[in-house]
């Protein structure tokens, strides 16, 4: 089993994006308190976790933190845990934040991977998404990234935005590719319940692509980026080479242990998953109260739960299901026991099968959730 990963959640944003359903607040008065508390939370896990070979600072908007604040966090990590020199240390960045000096300092802190929330190269789309940056800000931020010496960075794009046609999406993809990021994420816009965007959609203010159009966007994205030299290694993720995949995110998909710190963060270890209070108040209160972790809930996964998660997360990745590992863990020879189901899926081009794995095709990735339910 690979080494565990560490996730740190920064629950602050300058403005709220109308499509986002993650917890964050625009009240920045308690930033320092939360940071201090996250460091305090580390201590609670010092016995349970020892070494992390990936660190991911996400949010929220961690790029609104100053270098000093980030230093507090990362120093804390080094004080409490062992971080090997080759560890992947990622931070999410909003293109509207940070100047060249900030990026350079980030590098000096040991951060070696950036993930930039570009979302689109169309200002019209950025306005719809309620982002605070323009397309040119993203280009400038990426220039700073490179000038500061980062060679490992990725950017996020969103498709399926109302008003966006295939042509304008292709243009965004082309702009992205021209900047040569080693990693790209392309998400379909999801209308999450109770978000402001959802409310507008409920009122009928705009249409979103139907299933057929969604599939076209998905297939076109995959084909375009594959042609441009990217490997489509997960439903929404593309890497220019195997070493540029997100090492941290892959831990989520294969049940590698991870520790999540900060409000709302999730952790997983040995079949148990637990999560912190989403609200800052509850999080801080629990931590202040004593030595107990600010955990809001937990679950112990049954064998069936683990099996289902293994299936649906494996089938989200191009590698697919590792048959030997599956057999070892669940005592099931999928090829043999499910052959009546597997063959029609192969015939219809959803999966490819060899002795070692069952892997989804691109079409298979598009329906990965349903594929998982078949086994």
């Amino acid at each position: 089993m690979s080494l565990p990963g560490l996730y740190i959640h920064i629950p602050f944003c300058r403005t709220k994006c109308p499509y986002c359903h993650f917890y964050s607040t625009t009240d920045l008065t308690s930033v320092d308190v939360v940071i201090a508390s996250i460091v305090g939370e580390m201590e609670l896990y010092a016995d349970e976790f020892d070494t992390f070979d990936t660190i991911y600072i996400g949010g929220g908007t961690p790029s609104l933190l100053t270098i000093q604040q980030l230093d507090v966090i990362l120093s804390g990590v080094h004080r409490h845990f062992h971080i090997p020199p080759n560890a992947e240390i990622t931070i999410e960045v909003n293109p509207a934040d940070g100047d060249l000096a900030w990026y350079r300092s980030l590098k000096n802190l040991g951060v070696n991977r950036l993930h930039m929330g570009v979302q689109s190269f169309s200002d019209q789309a950025l306005t719809f998404l309620g982002r605070r940056h323009r397309a040119e800000d993203a280009v400038a931020a990426l220039e700073n990234t490179v000038r500061a010496g980062f060679d490992n960075f990725g950017l996020d794009l969103i498709y399926g935005i109302p008003g966006q046609d295939m042509q304008s999406w292709r243009e965004s993809l082309a702009r992205a590719v021209s900047l040569a990021p080693p990693h790209l994420s392309a998400y379909q816009l999801a209308i999450e319940e109770e978000t402001p965007l959802w409310q507008r959609h409920q009122r009928g203010s705009f249409d979103i692509p139907d299933e057929d159009a969604s599939l076209s966007f998905f297939l076109e994205t995959s084909a375009y980026l594959e042609r441009s030299g990217y490997h489509h290694y997960e439903v929404s993720n593309y890497a220019s080479s195997p070493s540029r995949k997100s090492r941290h995110n892959q831990k989520y998909w294969d049940h590698t242990p991870y520790l999540g710190l900060g409000p709302g963060a999730h952790s997983f270890k040995e079949g148990r998953r637990w999560w912190n209070h989403r609200g800052i108040e509850g999080y801080l209160k629990d931590l202040a109260a004593g030595t107990a972790a600010p955990v809001a809930g937990d679950e112990t996964l049954s064998r069936e739960d683990l099996r289902l998660e293994t299936l649906f997360m494996s089938l989200r990745t191009a590698r697919g299901i590792d048959l030997a590992a599956f057999r070892l863990q669940f005592g099931e020879n999928l090829l043999k026991e499910q052959h009546t189901i597997i063959q029609p899926l192969v015939d219809r081009g959803f999966i490819v099968v060899n002795d070692e794995r069952i892997s989804p095709t691109t079409r298979g990735l598009a329906v990965a959730d349903q594929l998982a339910l078949i086994f």
């Binding site: 599939l215 929404s236 999540g260 649906f312 029609p344 329906v367 990965a368 959730d369 339910l373 078949i374």
Partner: protein, 607 residues
Amino acid sequence: MGGLFILRNMDYIRNFSIIAHIDHGKSTLADRLIQHTGVCDIRNFQDQILDNMDIERERGITIKSQAISLPYTARDEKTYNLNLIDTPGHVDFSYEVSRSLASCEGVLLLIDAAQGVQAQTLANLYLAMEHDLEIIPVINKIDLPSADVERVIEQIDSELGLDTDTHLKCSAKEGTGIEDILEAIVQRVPPPRGNPGAPLAALIFDAQYDPFRGTVIHCRIMDGTVQSGDIIRFMYGGATYKVEEVGHFLLARQKRDRLSAGEVGYIIAGVKTISDVRTGDTITLENRPCDKPLPGFKEVKPVVFASIYPIASDDYEDLAVALEKYKLNDASFVYEKDASVALGQGFRCGFLGLLHLDIVQERLEREYDQSLILSVPSVRFRLTLKDGTVLYVDNPSHYPPQMSIAKGEEPYIRAAMMMPERYLGAVMKLCQEKRGMNSSLSYPGPGRAELIYEMPLSEVIYDFYDRFKSVSQGYGSFDYELIDFRDSNLVLIDILVNGEKVDALSQIVHRDRARACGLQSCERLKEEIPKQMFKIALQAAIGGEIIARTTITAFRKDVTAKCYGGDISRKRKLLDKQRKGKKRMKMIGNVSIPQSAFLAVLKSDTD
């Protein structure tokens, strides 16, 4: 002296029933009578004691009849035994109703003060008159703000043709007027007649299964006396048994030394299965039989047939056990083994009607925790083959090749419908749509029409009763009897899911109906079968000829965009829910078909 004593005893018995239109408050009134006579104390009182099955309570209808003896000390300071015999309230069970009424001397005809006389009020009145019973009209729900007692009194005269002086008023809900009702039962319902010294003649009006005692026979003693140790004989059934116990019904069974003419009670005689006891049969003594059985016995035969399969074939044995247990308490239910290519091993079952089918299914699922699939219900057709063989086929999978059939026939019924004149047009239209013929019309009362139609039973079993209720806005009453078999151009429609025949969805129908029926089945399935990984073709076919077709598109895109640390549990729970739903579906080839799809095929467009 002894004879005189018993005769005097009979003077203190009253056997009565409550009849009413649905929701006019029958069960509530029964509860009040029980409470008032102190059979049970208020603290233990569970509302509507007589309807003691969950399903009866939820549907508000009485499925099995029940009986209870109420000891009542009247104003004359004498104590009477009032036997309340409850009756089922649905057309599927009209024979049982007639047997219950045959056990009574009088009825309370309950009328809702706000709604007034309704269809079933009238139909029930006619039934009671047929049995020559004393009728006491009771106006219920007088506490309602919308109550219009004057109008109801007028209706008692004009529509029911009863003496308006005879009516009583009550609010069963509030408990007012109950004493007057009890008093009226004592004074106006005649005491039973019969000769305790004559040979035994007891009318069976119901039976229940007790896991410890076997079958408990509910009966009314018309003549004679029965006690434990007697050898009894069922006059139609022929079997003889030794009586172990007799008694009365209070809230529980109450053992007595003997039951005599005029009394209502139970007999336990080591009868193992309830199907050995037939409602309407006459019990007599083996060594001193009565001359002839009591009149009115009818063999109750199932008219609707369907197959039941477990969703998971592993559950077959459990289903077999559940059916065996269920059958103990439902004499009208019959079943035998059956097997389907698509659904595996199951049972072919016979029912009195579609409501009976619904009830059996619901009870099996609820009380025996079974997940079931039912095939499309069918009537029993008569087929004459070219070689002269005559076949009765109620199971589409036993339908012979079309080429070999010389003549097809289907069962016809005579339907008698009573309704206010204003619904006549709508009802006639419905009957014609259902291939009704040879109609006749009469006006038994002012503004009331009686319509008789001859109709194929197959048209009536699915949804006729519901639609009839709907077009007559609940004012219509409907009853039917089987008359004969008539020529019919029959065909077998198969339903194919992705080219694979689902035999449980096959139907035998009239050729003129085949295309519409096939298309409707396909459309229904399309609504019920969820999208899957593959396109699903739904086809209806007669032999090799496709007569209707529709398609369910496949999943095109279904995957969560983001799935990181915080999303996994949420996503797993969603998928798990979907998967549990799928587990309740039946795999036919590669297609998961939900239970609801099998049921949906039978429902009509007007639901």
